[in-house]
């Protein structure tokens, strides 16, 4: 008689045996398991699914699940590396923008369920006002926890927009135009997506990574020699992207 652990291990192996040599009743479970992942990822990656069609999408999800198994009981947080996987998926090689569209959709998903922001521009400005001028560049910031960054060599925001339900107008996408540097965050309960200038993206990414203001400014100036720190800080404090000073 198998132990419970042996039974579960054998059952799992039969679920993964996609060639279906196992008991026919196991196939019912196998179908349900894969259908669950197809539905869960389909809810997150709606534009990817539209771009490639449902049969292609399901095949890609099945392959992803086999290569990147779920490790937790909350399906809502499974699938974050699907964009990275698509970048290696041979059948998607002729759709080079597809991984970044997926990364944008995951950023939107994460921004929608990240922690609520505390702190106000007024409080941050007041805190900054207490810092001696010579120590300002040594400050580090906490960003709004909903902030995510997506940088792409493709016009992924435009691709995403023309695939939204209810989109009207010209659906043409101009490739070879400007690259996308996107900030995804939540504002008043809704996810918003903004294009950033190269210096702003470099500054905010550096600050998000824990750099102090001096190092973040270096990164921004490298990305854009005309970068203006004062304007960038005013904008990012006013729209709450920069939330608080780190202690």
């Amino acid at each position: 008689m198998p132990s419970l652990r042996e039974r579960q291990t054998n059952f799992a192996a039969a679920l993964l045996d996609v060639d279906g040599n196992a008991d026919g009743r196991i196939a019912i479970y196998r179908n349900t398991v894969y259908a669950n992942y197809r539905n869960a990822l389909g809810a997150t990656y709606r534009v990817v699914r539209q771009l490639v069609g449902v049969p292609f999408f399901h095949a890609a999800v099945d392959a992803y699940v086999q290569a990147n198994p779920s490790a937790g009981g909350d399906l809502n947080v499974y699938g974050g590396s699907f964009g990275d996987y698509l970048a290696t998926y041979p059948h998607a090689a002729n759709l080079p923008y597809l991984p970044d569209v997926a990364r944008l959709e995951w950023a939107i998903d994460e921004a929608g369920r990240a922690a609520d922001l505390h702190g106000t521009p007024e409080a941050l400005l007041a805190a900054l006002g207490t810092i001696p001028a010579e120590r300002i560049t040594a400050q580090r910031f906490t960003l709004d926890p909903t902030c995510r960054f997506v940088a792409s060599a493709y016009p992924v925001l435009r691709i995403w927009q023309v695939h939204q339900p209810g989109f009207e107008g010209d659906i043409a996408v101009q490739f070879g135009a400007a690259t996308d540097r996107l900030l995804v965050r939540r504002e008043a309960g809704a996810v918003v997506i903004e294009r950033l200038a190269p210096g702003d993206l470099a500054l905010l990414r550096a600050l998000a990574g824990g750099d102090d203001l001096a190092a973040a400014l270096d990164a921004a100036m490298t990305a854009d020699p005309t970068f203006d720190l004062g304007t960038a800080l005013r904008t990012s404090i006013a729209n709450r992207t920069l939330a608080e000073l780190r202690q």
Partner: protein, 277 residues
């Protein structure tokens, strides 16, 4: 806020209907949600649940704890469940008598346990661990299954009763799952019901199955079947007036369809009351 479930027919609240419920405030005696759908750190879905909770009794129903797995309990998962329970103060917290993961790999599905003495001892220890962690009694639900195991030695109803007896947990009796298993495995649904001490039963679930294949599949994607309504009526005669939930999870219809299903359940609940009076 009401902290107990009314002895009436509630509805499993899913994302497509939350906006409707908040806008229209329909007359529904209570709602249940899937716990994991509100494990987020913040955001509009959680804020909406707070608003639902302000106006309706609420129950949390877990689908991902993997209670019967031989892997260690996921303490991060449990911590998120406790955080959610601390936030919304649910009338009930329930999970399934099943497993979903092994060797670190999750299948995110309700997989069947072999009903053996080893599995019983294991599940009882896990239920006790969960109850200790949460600081409250939980309910455990019988699941549908599509196969049985040759090593199983304990009838499902005895297994379920033993878990409740040994851990002090309550039972969430899914009448549809009893029916599905009765059809799939040739067991006697009424004998199943007759084996359950009524005092253990804190909640009942009803849902629809798919009968298009070689065995019944618990899809939660159809109306409650006539045979299941009949079995539900017999369950109420045995258990009394138990809070009952309509669940619908795939091909989710408009909210009015769920309200009609709940109204049917409510008529059974009230018929039982009339008989009792």
């Amino acid at each position: 806020m009401n902290r107990s479930l009314p002895h009436s027919a509630g509805i499993g609240l899913r994302a497509p209907h939350v906006g409707h419920v908040l806008a229209q405030h329909p007359a529904v005696p209570w709602f249940e949600v899937h716990s994991e759908n509100y494990f987020a750190d913040g955001g509009p879905a959680l804020a909406a649940l707070d608003r639902v909770r302000a106006d309706y009794p609420l129950s949390l129903h877990g689908v991902g704890l993997s209670l019967g797995s031989t892997d260690p309990l996921d303490l991060g998962h449990l911590a998120r469940l406790r955080r959610l329970a601390d936030r919304v103060l649910p009338a009930r917290v329930s999970e399934h008598l099943c497993w979903s993961s092994v060797n670190g790999r999750h299948f995110n599905d309700l997989l069947p346990l072999p009903y053996t003495q080893e599995a019983l001892d294991h599940v009882c220890a896990r239920v006790a661990q969960v109850q200790d962690f949460l600081g409250r009694e939980i309910l455990v639900e019988n699941v549908s299954s599509y196969l049985t195991f040759p090593e199983a030695t304990i009838p499902e109803h005895e297994f379920v009763v033993a878990v409740a007896t040994r851990t002090g947990c309550g039972l969430l009796v899914d009448v549809n799952n009893i029916y599905v298993n009765a059809r799939n495995h040739g067991i006697d649904a009424d004998a199943w019901l007759a084996a359950i001490p009524p005092a253990m039963v804190a909640e009942i679930h009803l849902a629809g199955f798919d009968a298009s294949g070689p065995c019944l599949i618990d899809t939660h994607g159809a109306p409650v079947a006539p045979d299941v309504w009949a079995l539900y009526g017999r369950a109420l005669r045995r258990f009394g007036r138990v809070p009952t939930l309509i669940e619908w999870d795939t091909d989710i219809p408009e909210f009015a369809v769920l309200q009609r299903e709940a109204a049917t359940a409510q008529s059974y609940l009230e018929a039982g009351l009339a008989v009792a009076a």
